[in-house]
């Protein structure tokens, strides 16, 4: 537990010496200068082309603009969370298929995982948007965006789950079997709860991808953040300013998700990793 505060960098590389420190300082200086130069250049270009005009930015002083964007954020979160829940459910089922004792089940699950991982989200979306209605089933636009996003992520989620299950030491399973637990209880009460802890960071990263995929909502005109941004753009004729603000909002949402992931990873480190250091490695 002593190395709970040691960063990955510290663990992987030896401490830099005086020469390396000097080289790092010079490199940092050059990089900062380059970034500053670029930033100035960008702002200058904006100024020259008139993008900094107050007419493009004054819309953000109106509460109606923010209310509208807020509705968009709510739509995005609604789709992302629902798609997240569905994709975790589907991913769990696919993972069970992948580790099944039956060859046939395993084969079907593998095919589904490859299919959902390989097909782009937009194709799934077109399927629900253009093909499904031809069979007389018209879904509300919320589901037309949520289902494809969920389906396109579930294969990856299944594989993430599976890698977690494989990371649980064999001894955990044996110990549970040895006290007479049934196979299904061993999995649900001992193996999977630990597997989840191993893969929380990877799952949250997948959730970031789900959030980004929700931007396809404009295709089915579901009012998410992206769709509402487009409405603002056409109403106020303000392209760059709106996109910049919306990008910042997306970054904030995903930054929060990543922070949650770091937090979860640290918690896991405190429990499971320590368990392994103490020799609980389950041969």
């Amino acid at each position: 537990m002593s190395n709970a505060h040691v960063s990955v960098r510290d663990a992987l590389y030896e401490a830099p010496g005086p020469k390396t420190r000097r080289r790092t300082a010079i490199g940092t200086g050059i990089a900062l200068a380059a970034i500053a130069f670029l930033a100035v250049g960008v702002v200058r270009q904006f100024y020259i082309t008139g993008q900094l005009d107050s007419k493009y930015w004054s819309i953000f002083t109106k509460s109606t603009t923010w209310k509208f964007l807020g509705q968009g954020i709510a739509g995005t979160l609604e789709v992302a969370l629902t798609a997240g829940v569905i994709t975790f459910g589907l991913g769990f089922l696919l993972m069970l298929g992948r580790i099944s004792d039956s060859k046939v089940v395993r084969g079907i699950a593998t095919a589904l995982v490859e299919f959902t991982r390989g097909v782009p989200t937009l194709l799934f979306l077109y399927f629900f948007f253009l093909v499904v209605p031809q069979f007389g089933l018209t879904l509300p636009s919320f589901w037309k965006i949520t289902l494809p996003v969920a389906i396109s992520a579930c294969g990856v989620v299944a594989e993430v789950f599976r890698s977690g299950v494989k990371a649980v030491p064999k001894g955990q399973r044996e110990a549970a079997l040895s006290i007479g637990m049934s196979k299904s209880h061993v999995f649900l009460k001992v193996v999977f709860p630990q597997a989840i802890r191993y893969v929380i960071p990877a799952l949250l990263s997948e959730l970031v991808i789900v959030v980004k995929d929700t931007t396809f909502a404009y295709v089915v005109t579901f009012p998410d953040l992206m769709q509402n941004a487009k409405v603002l753009i056409s109403n106020y004729d303000a392209l760059l300013s709106v996109y910049l603000v919306v990008a910042v909002i997306y970054i904030l949402i995903n930054y929060l998700l990543n922070r949650a992931s770091d937090f979860a990873a640290r918690r896991r480190n405190r429990t499971l990793m320590a368990a392994q250091q103490n020799g609980n490695k389950g041969v």
Partner: protein, 256 residues
């Protein structure tokens, strides 16, 4: 040294019985025609060089390892091959592992109560009360709320023993229970095991602890190359073994 004489009536069904057990890993013949019978209350210690098959033998008894031929009976019942029947039988035979294998995500208390509540359907409150008693018995009751990772190896292994005891097993298998421990923690685990033996628990112990074998075993089984080479009382075995291979083994471990 002085153990109460164990019930020794010949017509009594052995708690564990292996008949002509064979196991192969591909070309490798890891268990060769093993015959072994363990009576109620008996402590059988299996020793032998590494790779002799002693751990594998121990693990076949609750079917952690499958066998290719022969029979294994627990209290006169052949071990079922799978499913609920196998689980029911495993619940009757405790197992203590070299690497403890405490459930890493559960507290010490929950480690002990999981079996009784999940398998035996004991009410939660009752299971907790008994778990605390068992933890007291192995001397780790003050750690009940902690996670396994927060305990020393010796403490973890004692919890593992308590976890086995919570199932009221007919016998407990110990698969090198002290091999992963730091030297200063071996004693505390062996003490708990010695206590169990005195109380009449039926035990099969795979170990390298010769002093423990000498003190606690009713019978010593010496294995080499997948076969039982010698079966003897501890006094006989450690002073003048019947076989040359056992003699060589004892010499090799005495020489350091």
């Amino acid at each position: 040294m002085e153990k109460q004489s164990k019930p020794n009536t010949p017509e009594q069904t052995p708690v564990i019985e292996l008949r002509h057990v064979d196991k192969h890993y591909g070309q490798l013949h890891v268990l060769k025609d093993i015959n072994l019978s363990v009576k109620k209350g008996e402590v059988v210690v299996i020793i032998g060089p590494s790779g002799s098959g002693k751990s594998t033998l121990c693990r076949t008894i609750n079917r952690m390892e499958t066998i290719n031929s022969g029979e294994i009976l627990i209290d006169g019942t052949a071990i079922p091959q799978e499913g609920k029947e196998l689980a029911r039988l495993r619940a009757q035979v405790g197992m203590v592992f070299q690497s403890f294998n405490l459930f890493a995500h559960k507290t010490i208390l929950d480690n002990v109560t999981l079996g009784p509540t999940d398998v035996l359907h004991v009410p939660k409150k009752e299971a907790r009360e008994e778990a605390i008693k068992l933890l007291k018995r192995v001397g780790v009751d003050t750690q009940a709320a902690k996670l396994p990772a927060q305990l020393s190896g010796g403490q973890q292994q004692r919890v593992a023993i308590a976890r086995s005891l919570a199932m009221h097993p007919k016998a407990i298998l110990f698969d090198e229970p002290t091999s992963a421990l730091d030297p200063e923690m071996i004693g505390e685990v062996l003490d708990v095991m010695t206590e169990l033996a005195k109380e009449g628990m039926t035990m099969v112990v795979v170990t390298h602890e010769m002093n423990f074998a000498r003190r606690v075993a009713d019978r010593v089984i010496f294995m080499d190359g997948g076969a039982i080479i010698e079966e003897n009382t501890p006094e006989e075995f450690f002073t003048h073994p019947n076989t040359q291979r056992a003699q060589d083994f004892l010499n090799s471990i005495k020489n350091h």
